[in-house]
């Protein structure tokens, strides 16, 4: 049983499928004019954001509120790296407020592990992105979106061919996706210039390639990662134009992908950089669906961690128990 969601490595295939199935059920409950589900009434969820991420925070906030949890948004101005209040003192403040779950976004890799394991707090910890380490709910919503389009919305992702393109070195989205997608049986290929692949990547359960063009015809789902502005200034590649020419997804590149294939992007997108406008606006791009799926996936995680007397990940009761 896992009380926290810190990394996709913590999830078995059964856990992951349970989360995706739960998200699907929650989607069925929210087809119409969605009102609040009373499930987490009286529970307090704290969004502890040490990094600006309006998108992720809003998604978690919507998820928690739809489950009727009380939501406290705690935007910490600076982490202890910048000599603000220490993570420990912040955590203990939240504990005193009675947080049942802390959703944490932090620029330092591993900060959610410290929150969960240092003995500062008692509630569940959900990693909403830590440094360049992990972003498990993003991977879950990506897997949900792929399963929905390419596997009829059920089961695992056995044999699905997924390409993740861009700054793998600094991407928590890539790390979490490699872990989750391979747990679910997908075949993952990472495409990037060699400077944006970490030393040690050869040990990951993924194929490595330096050429996007080689893989387009054999890709079911293509995930384009955002290229951060600061990378362009640190000699990871010669120029934005050169990157875009070699690794950007243009309409002509997309035309070489199979008919059924989809294009994902964790957002926010850099139009004209890693993805051309006409691609982003094409029906194959499921970027807006990813946003919608983000809310139900996060609802599923919150429900599974907080809904019962104990966490439901890793151990689930038979629904026959009470009639």
């Amino acid at each position: 049983m896992t009380r926290h969601l810190l990394s996709c490595e913590d999830l078995t295939a059964e856990d992951a499928i349970l989360i995706l199935d739960t998200a699907k059920r929650l989607g069925e409950l929210s087809t119409g004019p969605m009102r609040k589900l009373p499930t987490l009434r009286g529970r307090t969820v704290v969004n502890l954001f040490f990094e600006d991420s309006t998108r992720t925070r809003i998604s978690f906030e919507a998820a928690a509120k739809r489950l009727s949890a009380d939501v406290i948004n705690f935007a910490a101005k600076g982490s202890s790296v910048e000599k603000g209040e220490s993570l420990k003192d912040t955590a203990m403040t939240l504990e005193a407020m009675g947080a049942d779950a802390v959703v944490i976004r932090h620029p330092a890799s591993g900060a959610p592990y410290r929150l969960a394991n240092a003995g500062w707090i008692g509630g569940s910890v959900i990693n909403a992105g830590d440094g360049t380490h992990a972003h498990p709910t993003q991977a879950l919503l990506d897997a949900y979106t792929m399963r929905d389009h390419l596997r009829g919305g059920t089961g695992d992702l056995q044999g699905l061919r997924v390409c993740i393109v861009g700054d793998i070195l600094h991407s928590r989205v890539a790390r979490s996706n490699v872990s989750l997608l391979t747990t679910l049986g997908a075949d993952v290929t990472l495409v990037a210039p060699p400077t944006l692949l970490p030393i040690g990547v050869e040990e990951w359960p993924a194929k490595i390639s330096y050429s996007l063009d080689d893989h387009l015809p054999e890709t079911d789902a293509l995930m384009m990662l955002r290229v951060q502005n600061e990378r362009m200034n640190s000699a990871y590649f010669p120029s934005a134009r050169e990157y875009s020419r070699r690794y950007g997804l243009t309409a002509s590149r997309m035309s070489r992908m199979p008919e059924h294939s989809i294009v994902l992007h964790p957002g926010p997108i850099n139009r004209g950089m890693e993805i051309a406008s006409e691609v982003a606006d094409s029906p194959r791009a499921v970027i807006i669906e990813q946003v919608r799926n983000g809310v139900i996936t996060r609802m599923a995680v919150l429900y599974l961690l907080l809904g019962g007397s104990e966490s439901g990940l890793g151990d689930l009761v038979d629904e026959e128990a009470t009639a």
Binding site: S109, G110, A111, R114, N117, P198, I199, V201
Partner: protein, 430 residues
């Protein structure tokens, strides 16, 4: 002065003898079972190994400036409990030990504590800034008689400055102890760069950043015929470079820390900053190479890099945490675990790597001497068969950042004798 009669100790693990100490020197070595003189105090040492007092080339005592983490006095207590009779206090204090005034202050604090010899290390460059040489000669001529110079914590990156330091220290047989870390390759580095860092998303500290500097420095040392000492060697590649340089006759010596002999980078998976250290924990392959190099003498010495930090510097997220681990009170046990119990080294080798050679590198008089009549009475008695569980709260250091917390380690220091006087008896400060 009191006379001590140590009964039944085994020098370097050899046959048991009685060692008599008076007036600060070993006055007699007698067959075991000899009757103690009436005015002497008996120290029962049957089954204990006797080694020359340990000498640490690399200790951070934090005073002046960070007395909340450690003081010269508390660090010396930790040293004595660890079996040390001499330590070298690193220069990265506040103010930096880059002048005769500061090194003399540290030296006097050590004299006052009286638990072991404290030899200040002088900074190579003013304020450890790597810009211009500190007054190395003044520190050498001061009461502290500094012989080791190091910007430890920082690398002397400027090749010309490093060359000058290696040249200048020749005037008084000094040595430059380099913290080998190429600056640009380690910007923001958090842990060893490899498979584990790739998974954990922590910025990598590549082995090549250490090896490139060592390679440059041995060439510089060869060119100017200066003495280079390489601090905390941590990679298999560094070992190869040093081995090669020694074969060419370069005046290079090297040290390895106990933690690099035992711990590996996969411990970082907990994100517990108690494992954050510089240079970082490396891979199992590096550990094997370091052990082999220490055993064959390519690496000359074990040095603790004892680096105390207050709890708030470790009770935080990884990136915000300070680098460093305690080492003085666990060093000998870790060496027994990794080198003796594995059969890689005998007790004479332990004495050589933890006392004799470090004393020679530091140019120390009266330390690292044989256990023989007429020699200064600096020695340690070790119960090699005992085991103990590391309890951070029980440590003499002011800080608690030991990576061995709750581990069971072999070997207990029963007694430490410093200049003829026990500083530790029955495992406790005397």
């Amino acid at each position: 002065m009191t006379t001590w009669h140590i009964a039944g100790a085994q020098p370097l693990g050899g046959e048991p003898v009685d060692i008599v100490i008076s007036d600060g020197i070993i006055s007699a070595i007698l067959p075991t079972g000899s009757t103690p003189a009436t005015n002497s105090t008996l120290i029962e040492a049957r089954g204990l190994i006797a080694l020359p007092g340990l000498v640490d080339l690399h200790t951070h005592l934090r005073e002046p400036g960070r007395e909340d983490a450690e003081t010269v006095e508390s660090g010396c207590r930790a040293a004595a409990l660890g079996g040390f009779t001499a330590v070298h206090a690193m220069a990265n204090t506040d103010p930096v030990a880059d002048s005769a005034g500061v090194v003399e202050q540290v030296w006097r604090l050590g004299q006052t504590a009286g638990l072991c010899d404290v030899h200040p290390v002088g900074a190579v460059t003013v304020g450890l800034q790597g810009e211009r040489l500190a007054e190395i000669g003044a520190m050498a001529d001061s009461a502290a008689r500094v012989r080791i110079f190091s910007d430890d914590g920082h690398c002397v990156n400027d090749a010309l400055l490093m060359r000058r330091a290696l040249e200048y220290t020749k005037a008084f047989d000094g040595v430059v102890a380099q913290h080998a870390q190429e600056k640009r390759l380690t910007e923001g580095a958090q842990m060893h760069e490899g498979v584990v860092s790739s998974r954990l998303g922590l910025t990598g500290w590549p082995a090549v950043a250490e090896e490139a500097i060592i390679a440059r420095d041995v060439l510089l040392a060869e060119h100017v015929d200066g003495r280079l000492h390489v601090c905390h060697v941590s990679t298999a590649g560094s070992v190869e470079i040093i081995r090669h340089a020694k074969a060419r006759g370069v005046k290079v010596t090297a040290e390895v820390t106990p933690h690099h002999l035992m711990l590996t980078d996969d411990l970082v998976e907990t994100y517990d900053p108690v494992y954050k250290v510089n240079p970082p924990l490396r891979t199992a392959r590096d550990v094997v190479a370091l052990r082999a190099a220490l055993a064959d003498g390519t690496i000359d010495a074990v040095a603790t890099d004892h680096a105390p930090h207050p709890s708030e510097s470790k009770d935080c997220e990884w990136a915000a945490a300070s680098m460093g681990m305690l080492g003085l009170e666990t060093a000998l046990s870790v060496v027994i675990e990794t080198m003796v119990n594995t059969g890689l080294m005998g007790w004479a080798d332990v004495a050589d790597r933890m006392s004799i050679r470090p004393a020679r590198i530091g140019g120390l008089q009266g330390q690292g001497r044989p256990l023989a009549v007429g020699e200064p009475a600096n020695l340690v008695l070790v119960d090699a068969g005992a085991t103990w569980v590391v309890d951070p709260a029980a440590m003499a250091s002011r800080s608690r950042n030991t990576p061995y917390r709750a581990l069971t380690l072999p070997g207990r220091v029963v007694a430490t004798i410093f200049r003829g006087r026990p500083t530790v008896l029955e495992g406790r400060l005397a």
